[in-house]
C-alpha cells in the first residue's frame, strides 16, 4: 500500500492563496475506495481496541443506509465516495517500520518528518523545541494523522490537562473517550457525521479537569496535503466542573484541481460552571475562478452545556472552502447556561457557504447570543441558516440574534433563513437583520482621500466584522483581518 507521492507543482498556478503549497514527503496512502475492510484497515493501522472498531463498523453499516443531503443552498454534483482515499499519513524519515506513525501515538520531535515540520513552519506553526516554548499549545494534524502535539507532557504533569491527538487518547485514555465519544453527535446524526464516525482519521482530544483554568490556549492546525484524500477528524473537548479553556483551530490545504472532502465532527462537553471558548479561522482552499477544486467543508460541530451556569462560545472566521456546510451549535441543558455564536463568513469568486448555528434551550434561564456577519463578493452565495429552539422546560430563556449581510458587487447573493421554535411563553427572542452594499459612493469617497480600492474594501469589511473579530483571540483577530484582505483581492471588477 505504500506509495511514493506523485510530485505535483501547482503553486505557480495560483497566486492569491499563499497556503497553497504542496509538501513532498513520503506518505502512506490507502488506495481509493470505501468498504468494510477499509474501515477495519484504518482501525488496524491505528492499533485500536475492539470497542473503537465496533463504533466504526456500526457507523459504517448505518451510513450505507443514508443519503447524501442536498438541502443546503449550494449546488454540487453527488460525490463519488469510492474516488477518495480514506487514510494518508506522512512516514517518518527516520523510521520505516510501520509501528511509528501507525501506532497512533504522536511521534517525538526527532521523528517528525522534516518536510512536514517545514510545511507547518511555513504556516507559522512551530513544532519541536520551539513549539514547547511558545505561548500556545499546538496539535498539528497532517492529512489523517497528528504529527506532533506540543506542550502535551507539561500540561498533563503540571495541570492534569489532557491535550493529545484523538488516536493517542483512544490508546491512553480509553475510559474518557468511551464515556464521551458520540454522546453529543451520535454516529447516526447526519450523513457526514456518520461517515466521519466510520472512517475518523485523527483529531484532537482535550480534557480539562475540575477547577483547572487551562494556562495556555490549546490549538489544532489541520493541513490537508494529499490530493483526493478526505480528512475526517474527530475532536472532543471536555471541560469538567469549574474549569475553562480557550481552544483554537486553523485550517489550510494546497491548491488542488479537484474537490477535497473535509467532514469533521467536533463534540464539546461543558460541565457545571465551566467555560469553553472555541475559535476557528478557516482558510481552506476555495477553488479557482472557474469553480474547479477546493475543499468541501461539511462539518458537524456541537456542544452541550451540561451543567448549570456552563458557557460555550463559538467564534468563527470562515474565508475558505469551495462549499461550507456548517452549523456550530449549543445544546443548553444546564440551568442558566450560556451559548454564543459569533461568525464572519466571507465568500468570493464562486464559493458557496451555508452556515449558521443552532441554539437549543432546555434548561431554565438559558441565554444565547448569535452575531453573524456574512460578506459576499464575486459570484458567490452566502447563506445564514440558524435555529433557535426554546423547549417547554426552558423557563425564562432568552435569545438575541443579529444577522448582517454585506454585498460587494452585483453578481453575488446573500440569504438569511432564521428558524424560531418557541414552546415556552416566558421566553424572550429578538432578531435583527440588515443588508448593506459596499457602495460605489463609499469607494469613491475613500479614493478621493487617497485610499486604494482594495484597501478601502478591506477597511469597510473589517469595520463591518469588528464585533466578531473582537471576540477572537488577539493573534487570530489579526490573522483573520489579513485573511479577509487576501480573500477579497480582485472582488471588484
Amino acid at each position: 500500500m505504500q506509495t511514493q507521492v506523485e510530485i505535483e507543482d501547482l503553486l505557480g498556478a495560483q497566486s492569491t492563496y499563499k497556503e497553497g503549497f504542496v509538501t513532498r514527503t513520503l506518505v502512506e496512502t490507502f488506495a481509493k475506495g470505501l468498504n468494510e475492510s477499509v474501515v477495519r484497515a484504518i482501525s488496524a493501522k491505528k492499533n485500536e481496541p475492539q470497542w473503537m472498531l465496533d463504533f466504526r463498523l456500526k457507523a459504517y453499516q448505518h451510513w450505507l443506509t443514508m443519503h447524501e443531503p442536498h438541502w443546503a443552498k449550494a449546488t454540487y454534483a453527488p460525490l463519488d465516495y469510492q474516488d477518495y482515499s480514506y487514510y494518508s499519513a506522512p512516514q517518518c524519515a527516520s523510521c520505516t517500520s510501520d509501528t511509528c506513525a501507525s501506532a497512533g501515538a504522536a511521534p517525538q520531535e526527532s521523528e517528525i518528518d522534516p518536510e512536514v515540520a517545514k510545511a507547518f513552519a511555513a504556516l507559522g506553526i512551530h513544532l519541536g523545541a520551539e513549539g514547547e516554548a511558545a505561548e500556545i499549545a499546538v496539535d498539528a494534524i497532517f492529512d489523517s494523522v497528528s504529527v506532533s502535539t506540543t506542550k502535551s507532557r507539561a500540561l498533563l504533569e503540571k495541570y492534569g490537562v489532557i491535550f493529545c491527538s484523538f488516536s493517542d487518547a483512544v490508546q491512553h485514555h480509553p475510559e474518557l473517550v468511551q464515556k464521551y465519544l458520540g454522546t453529543v453527535v451520535p454516529h447516526h446524526d447526519n450523513f457526514f457525521a456518520c461517515l466521519n464516525a466510520a472512517v475518523a482519521s485523527d483529531g484532537t482530544f482535550v480534557y480539562i479537569p475540575k477547577g483547572v483554568q487551562c494556562p495556555v490556549p490549546l490549538s489544532t492546525y489541520f493541513r490537508i496535503n494529499e490530493a483526493k484524500t478526505g480528512q475526517f477528524e474527530r475532536t472532543i473537548v471536555i471541560a469538567d466542573e469549574g474549569s475553562s479553556v480557550s481552544y483554537i483551530e486553523g485550517c489550510s490545504a494546497p491548491v488542488r484541481d479537484s474537490y477535497q472532502l473535509h467532514a469533521a465532527v467536533v463534540e464539546v462537553i461543558v460541565h457545571a460552571d465551566a467555560e469553553v471558548k472555541y475559535s476557528t479561522v478557516q482558510n481552506w482552499y476555495p477553488g479557482d475562478e472557474n469553480c474547479e477544486g477546493g475543499i468541501l467543508n461539511f462539518v458537524t460541530k456541537r456542544g452541550v452545556c451540561k451543567g448549570a451556569r456552563s458557557k460555550l462560545s463559538w467564534t468563527q472566521a470562515e474565508t475558505g472552502s469551495a462549499i461550507t456546510w456548517k452549523y456550530p451549535s449549543c445544546v443548553l441543558e444546564g440551568d442558566d447556561s450560556v451559548g454564543e455564536f459569533y461568525s464572519v463568513a466571507l465568500t468570493n469568486r464562486r464559493q458557496q457557504a451555508d452556515t449558521g448555528t443552532k441554539m437549543i434551550h432546555i434548561g431554565k434561564r438559558t441565554k444565547s447570543t448569535i452575531i453573524s456577519k456574512g460578506i459576499s463578493a464575486g459570484k458567490s452565495e452566502n447563506v445564514y441558516r440558524g435555529l433557535v429552539k426554546i423547549l417547554p422546560t426552558a423557563e425564562g430563556a432568552r435569545n438575541f440574534t443579529q444577522c448582517d449581510s454585506m454585498l460587494i458587487g452585483k453578481t453575488c447573493g446573500a440569504h438569511t433563513f432564521p428558524y424560531l421554535e418557541v414552546q415556552n411563553a416566558s421566553a424572550q427572542v429578538e432578531h435583527e437583520a440588515t443588508t448593506s452594499n459596499v457602495g460605489e459612493d463609499q469607494l469613491f469617497y475613500c479614493a478621493q482621500r487617497g485610499i486604494r480600492e482594495e484597501d478601502a474594501i478591506s477597511m469597510i469589511v473589517n469595520g463591518f466584522c469588528k464585533e466578531v473579530f473582537q471576540k477572537l483571540p488577539l493573534e487570530f483577530a489579526v490573522e483573520a483581518e489579513k485573511l479577509l484582505a487576501i480573500s477579497l483581492e480582485g472582488s471588484v471588477g
Binding site: 479614493a447 478621493q448 487617497g450 484597501d455
Partner: protein, 248 residues
C-alpha cells in the same frame, strides 16, 4: 499654474454636461464658480476628481503640470487634489480615526514619506482639530455615521487640513445646507488659505461668499464659463439673474 483646464468636454449617461470649459487657477487664489441648476457645477467637481460615471470626450486638465485625466481617483488625491463632498458618505463600523490615519498614510506613501504611527498621527490630528475647534469624541465615532450636516462638513474640513492638498474643490451646490454647515466650510477654508494652495468654491447662492471672500468669480452656464470677474458679479446675478447675465 496650479490648475489648468482647457476646452474640457464631458458626458454623463450620454448627456453632455461640460461643453468646452476653460479655467486657470494660480496658487494662493480662491475662485468661486456660480451658476444655475444644471449648469454643470457638480459635474465639473466630479470630472476633476475622476468619478467613474463621467466620460471626458475632449480637452485637458492638469494639476501642477501633471495630466489629471490620466490618473485614477486615488492618484489625483495623492497628487494634491481634494474634493469636499456635498454629502459626505457614511461608513459604518470604520472609526473616523482609522479612516483619517489610513488616508493620511496613503497620501504620505505616495509622496515617498514614511507612514505616521499611532502616536505621530495622534499629535497631528489633535493639532488640526484644535485649529477647527473640534471635540475629541469625533475621532472615536464611525465615519460620518449619525453626524449632523454641520458635523459632516466639519469632518471633511478636518480631512482637508490633514491631507494638506494643493487644490481644494468644495462642492456646495445644494442651497439647503444649514448655517452650521456653511460656517464649518467657511472656517475650514479660511484656516487653510495659504500662498501655495488654491480653492474652488462651487456654489449656487452667494451665501457662502459672505463668509469667504473669493479673488475671482466665474459664471458657469450650460457647461461653459461665460463670465469672470470680481465681487461685483454677485450683485449683477442678484439683479439680472443668470439667464440675462449669461446671454448679455
Amino acid at each position: 499654474m496650479l490648475l489648468e483646464v482647457e476646452n474640457l468636454q464631458a458626458t454623463v449617461a450620454e448627456k453632455e454636461v461640460l461643453r468646452g470649459l476653460n479655467l486657470n487657477i494660480k496658487a494662493g487664489e480662491v475662485h468661486a464658480i456660480m451658476g444655475p441648476n444644471g449648469a454643470g457645477k457638480s459635474s465639473l467637481a466630479s470630472v476633476l476628481a475622476g468619478r467613474e460615471d463621467y466620460e471626458v470626450t475632449a480637452g485637458s486638465a492638469s494639476l501642477n503640470g501633471e495630466d489629471l485625466l490620466d490618473m485614477d481617483p486615488e492618484e489625483r488625491a495623492q497628487a494634491g487634489l481634494f474634493l469636499a463632498f456635498q454629502y459626505p458618505v457614511e461608513i459604518p463600523g470604520v472609526s473616523n480615526k482609522l479612516f483619517l490615519q489610513t488616508a493620511v498614510n496613503a497620501v504620505r506613501t505616495a509622496k515617498g514619506l514614511s507612514e505616521l504611527d499611532m502616536f505621530e498621527f495622534s499629535q497631528l490630528v489633535q493639532a488640526k482639530m484644535k485649529l477647527l475647534g473640534m471635540r475629541q469624541e469625533f475621532l472615536e465615532r464611525d465615519v460620518n455615521v449619525g453626524f449632523s450636516g454641520g458635523e459632516k462638513k466639519r469632518n471633511d474640513m478636518l480631512q482637508m487640513a490633514l491631507l494638506e492638498p494643493s487644490l481644494c474643490i468644495l462642492d456646495e451646490t445644494d442651497s439647503g445646507l444649514d448655517i452650521d454647515a456653511l460656517k464649518a466650510v467657511a472656517q475650514g477654508v479660511n484656516a487653510m488659505r495659504s500662498p501655495d494652495r488654491g480653492f474652488v468654491l462651487v456654489t449656487h447662492y452667494q451665501r457662502l461668499l459672505e463668509y469667504v471672500a473669493p479673488d475671482v468669480i466665474h459664471i458657469l452656464y450650460q457647461g461653459r464659463i461665460v463670465k469672470s470677474g470680481g465681487m461685483e458679479l454677485v450683485a449683477q446675478i442678484e439683479e439680472l439673474g443668470y439667464d440675462a447675465l449669461a446671454t448679455a
